[in-house]
Structures are given as C-alpha cells and as structure tokens.
C-alpha cells in the first residue's frame, strides 16, 4: 500500500471482462470463467441468506427452554433446510465455484478453463437443482435432517423429501463437472514456466478438492437416486421392513459426505496459503509440505467416513480402525497450521482485512480441528455424540474455517474481480464483529454439548438457558457481520476507489494482469520465471528491499 503516495490517480483499464459485452444474454450465455464465477457468486449468496434466515429462526426459537416461536414440526424443518441450503448450495460451491473458477485460470496463466461450455453447464445444473430444492422448501419443507437418513426419509417423513433429494442429486453433477474441469485445466493449461511446484497453493488445494469432488459425489448421487426411488416407487434397499439395510445408506452417504467436509475446508486452506505469505511479505514456509498435505487430506479423508457411525452398532474393530484413520487426518492439517505459523515468524506483517480473516481462520480452525479429535475418539464420542458439541465442532470448521476463508478470499481478490477497493476500515470492523459474533454463538454450544444437550431438539431443560441466550445473542451479532460485507462489497464494486493492478502487492500471476482482467485474461501469454510467493526476486512488485528482508532469528546460529 506504500507505493501509492506520489503516483497519479489510477483508472480502470478501458476494456475488461465486465464491459466487453452488455445485456442479459451476454451474462446468461457467457463462457468466460470470470463471468460464470460472478453468476455463482450471486447464486451462492442467495442461498447463504436463505440458510441464514433458517439459522436465525432456530436461534430465536431456542431463546427459551420451551421454545416459543415454532412448533416442533416446523423446528425440524428449519434445521433441515438450514443444513441443506448451507451445505449443498452454499459451502460446497462457494470457494471452488466462485474464487476457484475466477482465479485458477488466472493463476496458471491460461485464457480460460479447459472446458468453458461445461463450466457454464455446471452453473445451469446448479440452478436446476436449486429450483427443485426451493420448490421443496416452499411446498412444505423438509424435516429429515440434511443427512436424509432412511427409512425416515424414504418411508415415514410427511415432508417434501422427493424434490429435495432430486435437487441435491442434480446439483451434485454441477460439482462433478467443476472438479473435472479444474483437474484437466491444472494438468493441461499451465503457462510456460508454470511448473507443478510453482503453482500457488490455492491451485494445489483445488486440485485436491477436485479429486474429492469427482470420487465422492457420484457415490452420493447413486445413493440419493436409490433413496429417491425408494420414496417414489417403494423399492427396499434401505428399508428394514423389506429386508433392506439402513446402515448401508449411512455408509454410502458418509462415504461422500465426510470427504465433502474437505471440499469445504481445503479450498479455504488454499485461500489462507495465499493470504499469509502476501501479508507477512515472506515466502511460504514448507511449500512442498503444504501442497502434499492438501493431497494427503483428500486421500485420508476418504477412509474415515464411519466415524459418523460409532453408535450405529458397527463392529468395534471397524470403529477402532476408523478412529485411528480419523486421527491421521490431524497430521496433514497440523502440518499446514504449523507451516502458516512458521511463515508468520519473522515476517513483516500488515493487518489488512484479508489478513484479519486469515488470523480468524487460524484460531477457529485450530479449535474446530482439535475438538474433532474428541469426536474421533471412541470413548469420548459415546458421551458427546449427537450433542451440541458436534454442532459447535463442525460450525467451527465450516463457518469459522470455510466461511472465514471465503470472506478473506473475497476481500483479497475483490480489487481484482471488480477493479475497485472496498472501504478498509469498515471491512476491518466487520471482520472483528464476525469473529466476536461467531465465538459468542458457537463456543457456548461446546459447553452445552458437553453438559448433555442433544442436537435437533426443539426444547431443552431450563438450566441450559443461559448458554442458549448467549448463543442467540452471538448469532444476531454474526448476522450483522455478514450483512456488512455484502453491502459494502456491493457498493465498492461500483463506487470504490480504483485499486490498480496489484494493490497489496502479491506475487501471483493473477496480479500481473489489469484489474479487472480483460476477457482473454492476459494480453500475451505470460512466461513464469519465479517461484511461488517469492518476494525477493520480484523487482516488478516495487517493494522496498528492506521490507522483504528475511530476518534471521537471534539464536540463528547457536
């Protein structure tokens, strides 16, 4: 930010992807990955606020022990639809389909993804799936829990299960096509000099995410297809009354839905790996290990699914193995956290908004990850299974981790996406409000869970009220924290200060093209001659050499 002092006022480039063509058709029929990313941005934000509305209903209802707002049945629908909207229609597409779609081609120096039309198709598939799910929401809602457990979902539920299952089934194909497109793009579309180990870690994280998408999503697709057939035509695979096996549904469901957690968190880790070197102005510590950790999380993540099923009566030996494998995931996750921390050490840290989100991520992911070990441990899981402890744990990962990463990334790249800067101080305050609101909402839930409050109940004993009131108060603060970025980012897209090509400055290839980029991304194909996050050999960044100087620790040679 220090280079702006005496330079003339910046202007937007004359031609860029936003003003290349006009009209509604130029957006709905676009094959430009940057425009498709914005289409996704609008759709996932829409679902975020739908899911957020349901969340507010839940929290308001739980203000009093007897629950004053909703009937028991409506309450079930609220938490189910909150989960379905947030997981399938916001979290899974959020970072990959918005930031990944926009920045993977820019980061590797390509003109577009390998299959631009398939990219647009994936958005349309998402929309069709979303319409089915919205139809389910307005035609009575869904009350099975986001997990669609059978035979509740296939035989007993009186809610609109079929359209929701069809919607989630369809949307899965959007995810598969996005993953396929990313994998091929990363393999075949890299610019000259962009070797595998010069790829930004954001790209590595999306590579790992895409593997999970293409291997996991088809399994949940066939599972939901079977469950849907069971609901509509009375087949019996998952219905014990007909000789079917409901546990089989759970195995198949979690075979996708546990790795799906990594679809949500891995891209956020990728964002953090971009933010920390940029705002510590220091090369990322242990690049290869962080890249390999992404792949390790993706691979091990496929072998842990039955830790969701410790109390289903599965074999103790299977449970032991799954518990052990669950603990293994902690290793690559910890490798990442330690490497981020080591990058900060001796760095020249600035506290711009994206970095505040990165710090928020580090703390919240740490708590979320470590409490995951409580749940992966067989003995403690019996005590806290299906309590608010679980709810708090996965919200620390999905909201504290994934959404912090998403918002950090949005702020970091907003100047690139729109060409304009967001209001810095307002954004810092919003980040702080979010952090406080988040912890006030979810930390009391750890305590509630440990004391024994089960999840998914619409009433609770009066002694739990104080924590529930805290949680609801926190959720209200959180809501303000989410509304603020939505408002000022939208404002900034039109009226913000012009940002320039590389306002931070950051090292990635995406910052070497104008903001906003032209439709073809780069006027000439770039040739990459530097390593990732290398601030030393980049005179083009205009940095003061002192500020990138590696500070050796005082005890460096003892």
């Amino acid at each position: 930010m220090s280079t702006t002092a005496a330079t003339p006022a910046k202007t937007l480039p004359e031609h860029h992807y936003l003003n290349a063509t006009y009209g509604i058709r130029s957006w709905l029929l676009t094959v430009d990955h940057k425009r498709i990313a914005l289409l996704y941005l609008i759709s996932v934000t829409f679902f975020f606020f739908i899911g957020g509305f349901f969340a507010m209903m839940i929290r308001l209802h739980l203000l009093t022990p007897s629950g004053y707002l909703l009937s028991a049945d409506t309450y079930n629908r609220m938490f189910t639809m909150h989960g379905v909207a947030m997981i399938f229609f916001f979290l899974i597409p959020s970072i990959p389909a918005v930031l990944g779609n926009f920045f993977i081609p820019l980061m590797i120096g390509a003109k577009d993804l390998a299959f631009p039309k398939i990219n647009l198709l994936s958005w349309y598939i998402y929309v069709v799936g979303a319409l089915f799910t919205l139809y389910s929401m307005i035609s009575g809602g869904l009350d099975t829990g986001w997990t669609f457990y059978t035979p509740l979902s296939t035989v007993y539920s009186n809610s609109a299960v079929a359209p929701a299952v069809i919607g989630v089934f369809i949307t899965g194909f959007s995810s598969i096509l996005t993953g396929l497109n990313f994998l091929v793009t990363i393999h075949t579309m890299r610019a000259p000099g962009m070797t595998w180990f010069r790829l930004p870690l954001f790209v590595w994280a999306h590579y790992a995410t895409s593997i999970v998408m293409i291997l996991g999503t088809p399994v949940v697709a066939i599972t939901l297809a079977l469950a849907g057939m069971e609901r509509l035509f009375g087949l019996g695979f998952f219905n014990p009354a007909m000789g079917g096996d409901p546990i089989l549904f759970q195995h198949l469901f979690w075979f996708y839905s546990h790795p799906a957690v990594y679809i949500m968190i891995l891209p956020a880790m990728g964002v953090i790996s971009e933010l920390i070197p940029t705002f510590a102005r220091k090369q990322l510590f242990g690049y290869h290990f962080v890249a390999a950790a992404s792949l390790a999380i993706a691979v091990i993540g496929f072998l842990v699914w039955a830790h969701h099923m410790f109390v289903t009566g599965q074999s103790t030996y299977a449970a032991l193995a799954f518990s052990f494998l669950t603990f293994l995931v902690a290793i690559p996750s910890a490798v990442k956290v330690f490497n981020w921390a080591a990058t900060l050490y001796g760095g020249s840290i600035s506290f711009d908004t994206p970095m505040l989100y990165a710090f928020g991520f580090l703390g919240l992911f740490l708590i979320g990850g470590l409490t995951g070990l409580f749940l992966g441990c067989l003995g403690t899981d019996i005590h806290i299974h299906d309590t608010y402890f679980v709810v708090a744990h996965f919200h620390y990962i999905m909201v504290g981790g994934a959404i912090m990463g998403y918002l950090g990334g949005l702020h970091f790249w907003w100047p690139k996406m729109t060409g304009r800067m967001y209001p810095e101080w307002l954004a810092r305050i919003a980040a702080l409000i979010l952090f406080v609101g988040f912890n006030l909402t979810f930390f009391p839930q750890f305590l509630l869970g440990y004391l024994g409050m089960p999840r998914r109940y619409h009433v609770y004993p009066p002694e739990f009220q104080v924590y529930n009131v805290m949680s609801t108060a926190g959720a209200s603060i959180l809501a303000i924290g989410y509304l603020m970025p939505m408002i000022y980012l939208t404002w900034a897209a039109f009226y913000g200060k012009v940002a320039g090509d590389n306002p931070w400055p950051a090292t990635g290839l995406e910052w070497k093209t104008p903001s906003p980029p032209p439709t073809e991304n780069f006027p000439v194909t770039p040739i990459v001659t530097w390593e990732a996050y290398d601030f030393h050999n980049r005179p083009d960044l205009g940095l003061d050499p002192v500020s990138t100087h590696e500070i050796m620790p005082a005890h460096g040679d003892d």
Partner: protein
C-alpha cells in the same frame, strides 16, 4: 473465446486440446466407476445376506438372451475401435460404415433388453404390488416362453429357496430392484452413447474427421468401451455367478 478452425480459443495447440479432451473423458469415466460402484456395492452386500433369494432371482433370467447380448456388445466394441482406427488413418467411408455398425449393434442390444424386460413384466417379476416369484410355476400357461423342463427345475429351486428363506418374496424383490436399477442405468448410458454416435455420424458424413483431428471419435470411443465394460461386470453379477448352487 473464438475458435480458429478446430482449435478452440482457450487452447494454444491442437495437441493441448486433444490432451485436455481425452483427460476430461478419462476423469468422467472415473466418476462413472464410482457411480456404478455404489449400486454394485448395494447389490453385492444384499446378495451376501440373502443368498437363496438372489440365486432364485438370478435363475429366472434368460441365460440365452444375456449371452447373445454380451456377444452383441463385444462386437460393437470391436466396430467402435475400428471406427477410431479408420478416423486415425483417414479412411472416411470406413468411419461411417463402422459407426453405423456400432449404432446397429447398440440398438440390437437395447431391443433384446426390451424383450427381457417385457418378459419380466409378464412373469410378474417387477418389484411392487403385483410381484410374485411363483407366478410362472403356478401359471405355466401364462409363461409360454419358459420350457416345461426349465419350469420343473425352477419350481424345485424356488421351493428350496423358500425353505431356506421364509421371506423369499421381499428379498427377491431386492434382487429385481438391483437388476432393474443396474441394467436400467446401463441402458440409459447406451441410449446416451447412441445419441453421441449419431452426432459422430453427422460429423463423419460431413467429412470432418481427419488423421490430424479426430478427437470426438476417440473420446466417444472411450465412453462406448466403458459402457461395454460395465456390462461385462453386470452379466456375471446378475446372470452367472452361483446360478444353481
């Protein structure tokens, strides 16, 4: 992103474009393996738990029609690979001929499958209210396509199965659910494949495929072979294994 000849704007060279297209198809086929994998797992597990019912169900399938269909599909794989070869060496007429043969064999397969499906409906072997695995044994006149000695054999097997599994009717329905689910999904893939072949045929008649550029033939070929391989797994799973044990 405009297009220059056969080269789409996001690519720099035809080689890069071809590499991307075939890698994309391979990855898509991996997703297909996982997709079919889920239902095959459900089948295998239930077959293990309800073995007598599944063996009884398996025994009602027509081994003759299944074998003919396997042959038809293998032949179509051969003609498909010949079409790919013809495209690579630039024999334009041969591409069209082999594509037509592949389409023809594909439709023969689907036709035979239709005959098998309608037999299942006539024999009351479709899961649901009318399901009755003893229908043919009790009403031989309604099943003229099953030979009397086959019926005798079937009756004996069904009685044994019923003795081993009192709830034979519901468990046999699981078998037929899997049968219709797996073969139905496979048939759906065949129909999509036939659509793709017609699209290739259009390109081939327009003389589009040359030794320099024949990627569509190549990757549709990959897809077609995959669909064949699925059948190579379905045939033993549903028709063959432990049929009379």
């Amino acid at each position: 992103m405009h297009r220059t000849g056969e080269l789409y704007g996001q690519f720099k060279t035809l080689e890069q474009q071809k590499e991307s297209a075939s890698l994309g198809m391979w990855i898509f086929l991996i997703t297909e393996v996982m997709f079919f994998g889920g239902i095959m797992l459900a089948y295998t597990l239930n077959r293990h738990v309800y073995f007598p019912a599944f063996a009884a169900g398996s025994n009602t399938l027509s081994l003759k029609l299944g074998t003919i269909n396997t042959g038809v599909l293998l032949a179509s794989s051969f003609t498909m690979v010949m079409a790919v070869w013809a495209a690579q060496v630039g024999r334009k007429t041969l591409i069209t001929v082999f594509l037509l043969l592949t389409i023809g064999l594909g439709f023969i397969f689907l036709g035979i499958k239709y005959v098998e499906y309608s037999q299942k409906f006539e024999h009351h072997l479709v899961p649901g209210k009318k399901f009755d695995i003893f229908f043919c044994v009790n009403n031989p006149s309604s099943c003229p396509d099953v030979a009397p000695d086959e019926l005798m054999e079937e009756s004996k097997l069904l009685d044994e199965a019923k003795a081993a599994d009192p709830d034979l009717e519901s468990h046999a329905q699981l078998y037929y659910s899997a049968y219709f689910g797996m073969t139905g999904l496979h048939a759906l893939h065949m129909i999509i494949g036939a659509g793709l072949l017609f699209w290739l045929l259009k390109g081939s008649l327009a003389g589009k495929f040359t030794p320099q550029w024949n990627t569509p033939v190549d990757i549709v070929g990959l897809y077609w072979h995959f669909v064949d391989i699925v059948w190579i797994y379905l045939f033993p799973l549903l028709y063959l294994i432990d049929r009379h044990k």
